[in-house]
Amino acid sequence: MRSITIGESTFSCQPDETVLETLLRENIKVPNGCRQGLCQACQMRSLDNSPPVSAQVGLKDTLQKQNYFLACICHPEQDMTVALPNQQGASIEAGVIKKQLLTPDIVQLVLEYQSPFNFFAGQFVNLKRADGLTRSYSIANIPHHENILEFHIRRLPNGQFSSWVYDELEPGESVTISEAQGSCHYLPGRAEQPLMLVGTGSGLAPLYGIIADALAQDHSGPIHLYHGSRDLNGLYFVDEMRELAAEFDNFHYTPCLSGEDIESDHVRGRAHDIALSSTESLSGWRVFLCGHPEMVNQTKRMAFMKGASMGDIYADAFHVIQAEK
C-alpha cells in the first residue's frame, strides 16, 4: 500500500484507489470535475518522485516536466508527497547585489541566493518584503553556478512594491523569494522548431531568459523575438539583443513602437500585430507570449487560429495588482 503525504498529513492509498479518491475519502478539499483525466480540475504536483506517466496525459509538457499530474487518474507506483497548485513550498532569502536603471521606468534587480533553488528560465517567483507585501516577477536569466536571479521591474503608478524597489531597496538588503512557478519556459527537444516570442515592456524579462535557455541548449530553428512598447521608455536591452542577433544566425530581433509621433528607426506598430503578420501560418511553431494581459490573451487566440497547436503556446500574462487604499 502506498502512502500519500499532503501538508502535514499522510494517508494510505488503498489498492485500486486513485490519489483523488484517497484525499476525498480523508476529507481533503481537492477541486475536481470529470474524474477521468480530461477536465484537469484536479491538477496537483508531486514534490518528491516523478508521478506515473499515465497520470500526466494531456498536461502541457512544461507542467509534466515539473511533476504535475491529474489526481483522478493517478494510481501511485510509489509513496508520494503532493501539493495543490496554490500551495506554496518553502521560501528562501536572497540578497540584493545589483540595482540599475534600464530605462527611466524599468529597473534591473539582481539577487543572490545561498540555499538550494531550482528554476527554469521564464518562470516567476513571488518577491516578499519584510512586512509581507508580495508581488510576482519573472526571472530573466538562466540557472548557473553563480546562484543569481535577475528581474526587470517596471515602476507602476501607485505601485507599492515597484516604488519601494525603486526608491528604497538597496544592495546588501534582502527579500524573501518563493519557489519558482509557471509553465512558460523552454524545453529541449524539437530543436528545429521555429520559435516566436512576443513581449511588451518588462515582458522581455522572461523571454530574455527563454531565448538564452534555447540558445544554450542548441536550439537550431529560427528564433524570432518581437519586443514592443508604446514609447522608448519601455524598450530596453536593444543593444544586447542586436549583439545576440549578430552572434547567432538563427536569432532575429524586432523592436516595435506603437506610440504616435516618436522619432526612431524601430518598426512602427504593435509587437503582436507585426509578429502575427510576419508569417502565413504558425502551424508547427512554438509561441511564447509575455506581458500585458490583453495582448497575451488576444495573441494566444490569434496564434491558435493561425495554426499553432494549443500545446505549443506558452503564455504569461502580467496582471497588475491594484494598490489597496
Binding site: C34, R35, Q36, L38, C39, Q40, V57, G58, K60, N297, K300, R301, F304, M305, S309, M310, I313
Partner: protein, 130 residues
C-alpha cells in the same frame, strides 16, 4: 485513422476512430472551427483557452464513444449558464456541423462520422436544458 490495425467488427467506435490519438488530432481542428464561427464563439469565449480546450477534448472523447463519466445531469448543470445566455437548437446544430467537418477533414469514413454524430446528438436535450 489507425494504420497499424485493420478495423474489425469487434472494435468499438472509439477504437475504430483511433482512440486518444484521434481525439488529440481532432481537438485543435474542432476548437479552431468553433472559435471562428461568429454564430457560437461567444459561448466559448474564455480567457483560459487550455481549460476550454480540455472541455472540447472531453466532448470529443464522448462523441467518439470513448470512456466518459458524464451523466445527463452533468450536461444540464454544465450548460445551464449558457442556456441563460441564449443557447438554443441553432447553436447546437452549428456545433454538430463542426464535429462532422472536423472528422471529414481527418478522412474518417462517413459511416463512423454518422455514429459519432448520433452519440453527440443524444446529448441535445440535456445540453439545451429541455
Amino acid at each position: 485513422m489507425s494504420e497499424s490495425q485493420e478495423p474489425t467488427s469487434n472494435q468499438t467506435l472509439y477504437e475504430k476512430l483511433g482512440g486518444e490519438a484521434a481525439v488529440n488530432a481532432a481537438v485543435d481542428i474542432f476548437y479552431r472551427k468553433v472559435l471562428a464561427d461568429h454564430r457560437i464563439n461567444r459561448f466559448f469565449d474564455n480567457s483560459d483557452m487550455e481549460k476550454q480546450a480540455a472541455k472540447q477534448k472531453a466532448f470529443l472523447t464522448m462523441a467518439f464513444g470513448g470512456p466518459n463519466n458524464y451523466s445527463g445531469t452533468d450536461m444540464r448543470t454544465a450548460h445551464a449558464r449558457l442556456v441563460k445566455m441564449g443557447l438554443n437548437a441553432s447553436h447546437f446544430d452549428a456545433v454538430m456541423e463542426h464535429l462532422g467537418a472536423t472528422l471529414t477533414e481527418l478522412n474518417v469514413p462517413a459511416e463512423l462520422i454518422a455514429q459519432a454524430a448520433a452519440i453527440a446528438e443524444s446529448t441535445r436535450n440535456d445540453v439545451l436544458g429541455k
